[in-house]
Symmetry: C2
Subunit: 176 residues, 2 copies
Amino acid sequence: MGAFWQNGYVATSVSDVVRETGLNTASMYKEFGDKDGLFREALGYYRGHVIGPRYQILRDNPNLAGVETFLKNVLTGAAKTEYKGCLMMNHLAQKHAISPEAAEQVEAFCAEIESLVETALRNAQSDGDIAPDKDAKELASFIVFCVHGAVLYGRHDSKKDEISVFYDMIIGALKH
Amino acid sequence: MGAFWQNGYVATSVSDVVRETGLNTASMYKEFGDKDGLFREALGYYRGHVIGPRYQILRDNPNLAGVETFLKNVLTGAAKTEYKGCLMMNHLAQKHAISPEAAEQVEAFCAEIESLVETALRNAQSDGDIAPDKDAKELASFIVFCVHGAVLYGRHDSKKDEISVFYDMIIGALKH
DNA sequence: CCAATTTTAAAGTAGTTATTTTAAAACAGT
DNA sequence: ACTGTTTTAAAATAACTACTTTAAAATTGG
């Protein structure tokens, strides 16, 4: 998975994955079918074990506190992962280079995030924690938009190992 | 340039470029040396003729009005370009797959943007247009961070062809 | 018009790619 | 211990990669 994460789908050869995992080439093809199946497996694992858990906070706390904690985690953690960026979002920038099925897998996850955030923000509005006159869906889009920025920004700017300075600005934008 | 833009460096073969440009293979190698030279040429052209001009507004108007216009252009125009995303920023997500020289070319441009925005914001503070207690450099980072978000977000979300709804939130964050 | 230079098309090279095949090795159940 | 199955290593394949060479065609300058 590391190779896909760091170098992208096209720049990662099946041999790279074989070397990295220690799997046997033939049994790998029997298990996953082809390179694309292998990549989709990596996406699934990443979603289930690496990035998915980060969003659990939004499920456990579907309110402003959950959004704040989540955002703080994303903004401070973006540059601290083993590899830079996000296996999924890195591939948003090379959508045409991966299979439609894999692309759909990535986008479905983005949609799920957006929906999680939207629910939390809707509750935050009921709680009177954020501006009630704004569209929760639009605010959720804005949060995901910022997550995208964090991913790409955190990946490229090696001088900054945390971008939490933006936290107040984003939270502030939700409130008025 | 289109192939590099749409598919990324690795997923673009020299044959693709030859087909796209109509250039002769041999004369292309004589002119640009190798694939990397070709890519750097594309980066240079993109910077000079495609994306560079978009930042001219910041040079002509190094103040809040310039930043506002620039942001508006970026946020409304991100999803309207011929190809999605930005030739340069798309490659920030695959930094390891391009040459160090090309990566440096991309990062130098990012640094230049950041510096342009910083100058404009510093002037905006002198003009009393934005919060004077904030660090102009940090605010400039935030703007570039948002531009990254716009690039990646605009590339992946096909349902939204403009993300200008975020404009008010970003500008608002500068002011208080 | 002719010689010199540049451009072009096309074939060729050497390496890598994803994927398959072959056949030996390991393992399983009885 | 033997049989059937799975796993493994290694070689083979066919397509593609970046890149080079060859030699013909076009273009230039005097």
